[in-house]
Symmetry: C2
Subunit: 278 residues, 2 copies
């Protein structure tokens, strides 16, 4: 009948919209996408099942990306919902499953919610003035890409802020175990703001030439954000070389590199979060 | 006690989050900001009063921008909420009233929701790939600024999409009436996507030189969006010269200029909205 893509928002089960809540109650099957973002204890399958007093089915990456028959076949006959942390078209779009549903002749409805892409406005930085978003990925012994810094420098040149999304690895197969013939998943890994700051310090050294205007230095002020939208959300405004040693607590973390040409009111807001050494 | 900034989302009273709804019920005073965006019939003060079965107080631009005593004084003793269409830190930040509350020693809590800045993801265009947002303003006989096209061209050069927010004029004083000693307000004015397309056509002519790479032409494909998040939301993907004559219906309208280097899946999503002449 209808395939609903429903945003859960960022924090707990109560961050769903009233409309979304109603739809979940009336749907025949409800899936929970369990890989694109962290499911906080407030948004765990258990918490959701308790809140709705109904079965919530897990949907892993494979199921969602292949727009699985299991999810969409049911939607031919009855209402089916896929729940997504944040907004269904936030940091991860769900275009593939949306398009597949349309091809199958199933009407799709999107229930929007807050996502990291707009909730970062609570730092006081104008969403208007953000340039392209970049993604930091985990460095390995052999691969330490710094190509995303090109984009950060371009944003800075244009007087724009940069949101840096930090790498998440969930449900990854353990290669060493696999080579021994055992199928094991690695525990989930979330890049910390401190790790991102470490990458930036290395990149600043390497970029010396391209970074001739010194747009990025170890003293550049950045914003670290942890658990955005949760009750224990933490925002810290500090230098990159300070952030290296700051523990922001449990995931998810993000970092913003504000433009040096911030509006005075943006600066005033950021100063509320100024890091003070204990 | 606590000053709450609560996002209402985009469509109707049911787009509030469950958490937001609970807080509104327990607050001593609830104000509704009534100028930064359109209050749809679904989000009119009447609809809200009916939904919550309580008095909702209007807050005009002056009250909110001056972080009025009326709003914050009450928050010293009891819980007060200011309701905002979209997200409190979406297209319009509420940094001024936030800072004023902090200065007065009043704790502030933000309840996030969807805003135009992330809900445009439903076009299938990746929020990642948006450059700086621009604002189109109404042209007058004597003033026809096209400076924002500079930013659009820069975004296009970098392969980024541009969200264009279109001008809104509400509660404007009628100057002619004022000169006759009468205080009258003009009816609200909302720029249509068609008017924005008309501005683009004029600008493309004027920009010929700077636009030497022909990044913008009358045939450039753009996305017009009307009433985002409402039940009768409309999305049209068409050429600029087509949009001039397309009626998108009641406000609010926005326009996106997608990068020509769209991802194939972005194109596939956009093609769902391809304009067909009747």
């Amino acid at each position: 009948m209808v395939f609903y893509l429903i945003g859960l928002g960022l924090g707990t089960v109560e961050d769903i919209t009233v409309k979304g809540q109603k739809i979940i109650k009336q749907c025949d099957k409800v899936f929970l996408e369990s890989y694109t973002s962290i499911l906080s204890s407030g948004l765990s399958p258990d918490a959701l099942e308790k809140f709705y007093d109904r079965k919530i089915l897990p949907a892993d990456r494979e199921m969602v990306e292949s727009a699985s028959e299991e999810i969409l076949e049911g939607a031919k006959e009855k209402d089916v919902a896929l729940l997504v942390v944040g907004d269904p078209f936030g940091a991860t779009t769900h275009s593939d499953i949306y398009l597949r549903a349309v091809q199958m002749g199933i009407p799709v409805k999107v229930i929007h919610n807050a996502s990291i892409m707009n909730a970062i406005g609570c730092t006081g930085l104008q969403l208007y003035n953000f340039g392209e978003t970049v993604s930091f990925c985990f460095w390995t012994d052999t691969c330490k890409p710094i190509s995303y810094f090109e984009k950060i420098l371009l944003n800075l040149e244009r007087g724009q802020h940069t949101l840096c999304l930090l790498d998440i690895k969930t449900n990854e197969i353990n290669i060493e175990e696999l080579m021994r013939g055992r199928m094991k998943r690695n525990p989930p890994q979330y890049m910390t703001a401190s790790e991102a700051a470490h990458q930036m310090m290395v990149a600043i050294d390497l970029l010396n030439e391209r970074n001739s205007q010194k747009l990025l230095t170890p003293e550049t002020m950045v914003v670290a954000i942890a658990r955005l939208g949760w009750d224990d959300q933490k925002i810290v405004y500090c230098q990159i070389n300070e952030l290296v040693d700051i523990d922001m607590g449990p995931p998810l973390h993000s970092v913003i590199i504000p433009s040096p040409s911030c509006h005075p009111m943006e600066i005033e807001m950021l100063n509320l979060f100024r890091y003070k050494k204990e």
